[in-house]
């Protein structure tokens, strides 16, 4: 009952505050009148009576305040009042306010955007039930030579049969299909995954439509089945539910559509269009091999089993496999990563670096605002002192300051939040390669984070200046502001300290950005070892259905080259299975006939590439010795290969490799090949070093997927060749889709996109910080100048030269900059250590970067200080002294 009454009272006080105020006034008036009446009755004159009553009454406004203080919601009233006052004060200095809002907004925007990315990509669990128990399993080497190696089918089968740590273990393989249909739709190359039937049940995924794979689909004898992703179903089939049970053609073979995945399913990424059952697609022999490392393995740990326990068990199983197969590339250990980590570890370091950079930026923005507030506080010194003298409490003054800075911060937050939303859209647009990019969006935790940093920064920016202004020296303050001393020391010292920290943080950011940019430029200028100008590439994959023999495949290859080479503008054309810069896609083990057999367990490995003999001259890869090999056909007895320089260096040290023999099984059986020539190295990965490679003839017919590389005649735009070439291809086979039409420059650009992105963003942050620090320096010195106007006037009047004054003022402004620079350089030594993993060749201690950053900063500091210092030296001493 009482609780209800209290609540009613609260509600009443919230909505009827003004009326309650009136009533209080009437109540007090009544009391006063009664007192007067009593006094008159006691024989006083009305005037006397009134005065006596008022005397007794005390201070009516204080009484009114005290009574109001007992009402509910007083705190809210006070805060509202503070806010109103704060807005009024801020509106009086719009320049300052807008600057502060802009500065804070930039800081918030960058932070919220990066936090959203980090949270969505690195922290949010994958959307599967108990995702914390999902892991990726790799083969590894007990000596640590190979880690995170993809898995051989035989090893997987053995793990699955023998391990007890997992509820389920599934295997998958990334591939591409030529997708065409009965409906006369255009053929396309579809990114796809093959997975064992238990893959989806293990993740806990239910189909949106139809069914997913069953064990009976996942056998070589079964009919072909395919599960579509939601995206492909919507795009190619218009979301028609009748599609279930229909057939489509993958690589010219028939598959029945059995189900559609839900729209939220985007594992491993959104590029994947469809899924097929792995054991149907791959032969039993292939899936039983221990040496062919091809597959991704995902497992679900049993509840209560740790990754370490599971790994110990699997490693023991793998070691036993190795004992059983001491020959060939069979690993002897395993490694396990949480599934999220496995998908994102490549971008982790970059994202965290950027997040740290935005954190620095926000801190700088915060310090800058604090600095501006200190400056403003200084101009309001006299007001503050008078108010303190009149009894205004320190808490009240601090509350005012903090309210102001929180208001600025909130306005900046709104601006920053809009900025972040725009930045995120842009980011997802320019970096679709970030894993889980589709899941990046602002959610409630991001909102919470935003609110927290807005208030945190507002409090910080407000408390620093507020706590520094202390009221112990009211008298001194009043003195200082009325008579011209050389300025309040304590405020100035604080501003210098803030500036030094700000400059120091800026230096750290600049150096980080400098190192990343240098590293990126080195990366871009890397010599791939082949022509990159005027080279157009496109990928063609011959479907199993229509090209079912090696003869048909090599016939197509020959026909293609014959048609493309005479096209106008084409200087050279060639076929290659893997282009330089596309990564190590395919490698095989081999032995050298002329060398003694290797000890058991050791193998030789080299990248496998299939090229037509014209490849080397087309891509301008130099011949170092011997000759280019002949265009061998599949049936030919004497097969020739070329090796690269790294191969010769590593496997034929001090020997002439020409005429030696290599035995490998890159075709369907083991064969011997004669080394005909040694060619120059090309890089598989732009940031890597050369790896031994063997070039086989593409006419052996071992690869279905090849890139056509066309070099144009100089002066001709190479991309203009794309259309005539594609016409030539469809002239041979109308149903053959062409994918990845890219210039070599673009391939190089793609493989350095991360580095470019990180470096550009970090540079942007660093430049913003530099601007902020410069503005800060300028502000401090301008402030100091006005404070010291009289002093300078006196100096000038007493005969000091203008040059001396200029020097004096410059010294004053540059000191915090130099202190900050020193701080920043020292801090950078420690911090750059953390970004080492992002750097290609630049070391973390790059003298030139440190030097350039120091000079840039000093230059900015000098520019910022010169204007106010020069202005000070131009002062007319008479005017300055008269300002009193």
């Amino acid at each position: 009952m009482r609780a209800l009454d209290q609540m009613l009272m609260r509600v009443k006080m919230l909505f009827l505050r003004d009326r309650a105020g009136d009533e209080l006034g009437r109540e007090l008036e009544f009391h006063l009148d009664r007192q007067i009446a009593e006094n008159i009755a006691a024989g006083m004159s009305p005037r006397e009576a009134r005065n006596a009553a008022l005397r007794l009454f005390g201070n009516p406004s204080l009484l009114r305040q005290q009574a109001r203080a007992s009402w509910s919601w007083t705190w809210a009233e006070l805060i509202l009042g503070d806010i109103r006052q704060g807005i009024r004060r801020l509106a009086r200095t719009p320049g300052f306010s807008w600057l502060a809002i802009l500065v804070m907004g930039l800081g918030f925007g960058a932070n919220v955007a990066l936090f959203t990315v980090v949270k969505s990509v690195l922290l949010n669990p994958l959307p599967f039930p108990h995702a914390d128990r999902l892991v990726r399993i790799y083969e590894a080497d007990a000596n640590g030579a190979f880690n995170d190696s993809i898995v051989a089918g035989g090893s997987f089968a053995t793990w699955q049969a023998q391990s007890h740590s997992f509820e389920q273990m599934a295997i998958k393989y990334a591939t591409q299909y030529d997708l065409s249909g009965d409906g006369g739709q255009l053929p396309e190359v579809a990114e796809a995954h093959m997975a064992s039937w238990n893959f989806f049940p293990m993740l806990g995924v239910e189909p949106a439509l139809g069914r997913l794979f069953l064990a009976s689909d996942d056998r070589p004898e079964a009919n072909g089945t395919v599960v579509l992703t939601w995206g492909l179903w919507k795009r190619r089939y218009g979301g028609d539910p009748g599609v279930i049970g229909k057939t489509l053609l993958l690589d010219a073979r028939q598959y029945t559509i059995i189900g559609v995945l839900p729209s939220w399913f985007a594992y491993p990424d959104t590029q994947v269009q469809l899924w097929t059952p792995l054991y149907h697609e791959r032969s039993r022999a292939n899936m039983g091999m221990y040496v062919a490392h091809n597959f991704d393995v995902v497992g679900r740990l049993k509840a209560g089993v740790s990754m370490a326990q599971a790994n110990a068990e699997l490693s023991a199983i793998q070691a036993a496999i190795r004992k059983q197969y001491p020959q060939g590339p069979v690993n002897d250990a395993t490694s396990i990563r949480p599934i999220l980590d496995a998908e994102t570890y490549k971008v982790k370091a970059g994202l965290y670096t950027l997040l740290a950079a935005t954190g620095c930026l926000l801190l700088i923005a915060c310090l800058n605002t604090a600095n501006l507030l200190v400056a403003r506080g200084a101009t309001r010194r006299r007001e503050t002192a008078i108010r303190t003298a009149l009894g205004s409490s320190r808490a009240r003054l601090i509350r005012e300051q903090v309210t102001e800075s929180v208001l600025l911060s909130c306005a900046g937050g709104v601006f920053g939040f809009a900025l972040a939303a725009a930045a995120l859209q842009w980011l997802v647009h320019v970096r679709p390669d970030i894993p889980r990019a589709e899941s990046i969006h602002i959610d409630s935790l991001v909102l919470l984070f935003t609110t927290a940093i807005i208030f945190g920064c507002g409090l910080l920016a407000g408390l620093i200046p507020a706590l520094s202004s202390n009221d112990k020296h009211i008298l001194q303050s009043l003195h200082e502001s009325s008579r011209s001393y050389s300025g309040g020391r304590s405020g100035l010292r604080l501003r210098r300290l803030l500036l030094s920290i700000q400059v120091g943080l800026t230096v750290v950011l600049l150096i980080g950005a400098g190192l990343l940019i240098k590293s990126y430029r080195q990366l871009r200028s890397v010599n791939l070892g082949c022509a990159t100008e005027n080279v157009l590439t496109m990928r063609i994959k011959l479907p199993k259905g229509s090209y079912n023999s090696m003869v048909k495949m090599s016939a197509f290859d020959r026909q293609l080259l014959d048609r493309v080479r005479p096209l106008p503008g084409v200087a050279a054309a060639a076929l290659v299975s893997v282009l330089p810069g596309e990564g190590r896609v395919w490698d095989d083990v081999f032995r050298i006939t002329e060398h003694p057999p290797l000890p058991t367990g050791q193998v030789l490995d080299a990248s496998t590439r299939f090229v037509d003999p014209g490849y080397f001259s087309a891509m301008q890869i130099p011949l170092l010795s011997g000759r280019f090999f002949e265009a061998n056909l599949h049936g030919d007895q004497n097969q020739e290969v070329a090796i690269n320089r790294e191969f010769a260096r590593r496997y034929f040290p001090g020997e002439d490799p020409i005429g030696k023999h290599i035995v490998s099984s890159v075709t369907d059986d083991e064969r011997s090949y004669t080394i005909a020539g040694v060619v120059g190295d090309t890089l598989e990965e732009i940031s890597g070093s050369p790896y031994p490679a063997i070039y086989y003839s593409i006419f052996l017919g071992s690869t279905r997927s090849a890139a056509l590389a066309v070099r144009s005649r100089s002066g001709r735009d190479v991309s203009s060749l794309a259309l005539p070439i594609q016409k030539a291809i469809s002239g041979i086979d109308r149903d053959l889709p062409v994918s990845r039409v890219l210039t070599m420059q673009q391939i190089v650009g793609q493989s350095s996109a991360d580095a470019s992105f990180d470096a550009t963003l970090l540079l942007a942050f660093a430049v913003i910080s530099l601007v902020l620090a410069t503005v800060g320096l300028f502000g401090v010195l301008s402030y100091v100048t006005t404070q010291r106007t009289t002093e300078i006037g006196v100096r000038l009047a007493l005969g000091s030269s203008r040059g001396e004054v200029l020097k004096l003022m410059l010294k004053d402004g540059l000191r915090p900059a130099i202190v900050g620079l020193a701080l920043g350089l020292v801090a950078s030594l420690g911090v750059t250590h953390f970004i080492r993993s992002l750097l290609y060749t630049a070391t973390a201690l790059d003298g030139s970067v440190f030097l350039v950053v120091s000079l840039t900063l000093l230059l900015a500091a000098v520019v910022a200080c010169t204007v106010p210092a020069w202005r000070a030296s131009r002062l007319d001493p008479m005017l300055a002294l008269r300002m009193e």
Partner: protein, 109 residues
Amino acid sequence: MGKPSDLVQGTLDLLILKTLSIEPRHGWAIAKRIQQMSGEALQVQQGSLYPALHRLEQQAWIKAKWEESETGRQAKFYSLTAAGRKQLESETANWNRLSQAINIIVQEA
């Protein structure tokens, strides 16, 4: 009669509640009543009385109503609520305990 001693906050609340337990009164009458009953020993300052009244009202121990006063003018009359009556009982009991205890000590000494 010296200057009336500062009333401890809780004590003023008790006095107000006690005064109101007889009949509803306005602020002036409450002050007068306390003054008379104490034989002019206690004088309630307006500065304490009105904040105390508003505080008690917020606590829902007393409630207020505008009514015509004895002079014919509208005045704010306070009266006890049921919760206020209980509060008065417990505060009276508290006061008795406390004053007895103090009495014992003061008289022993």
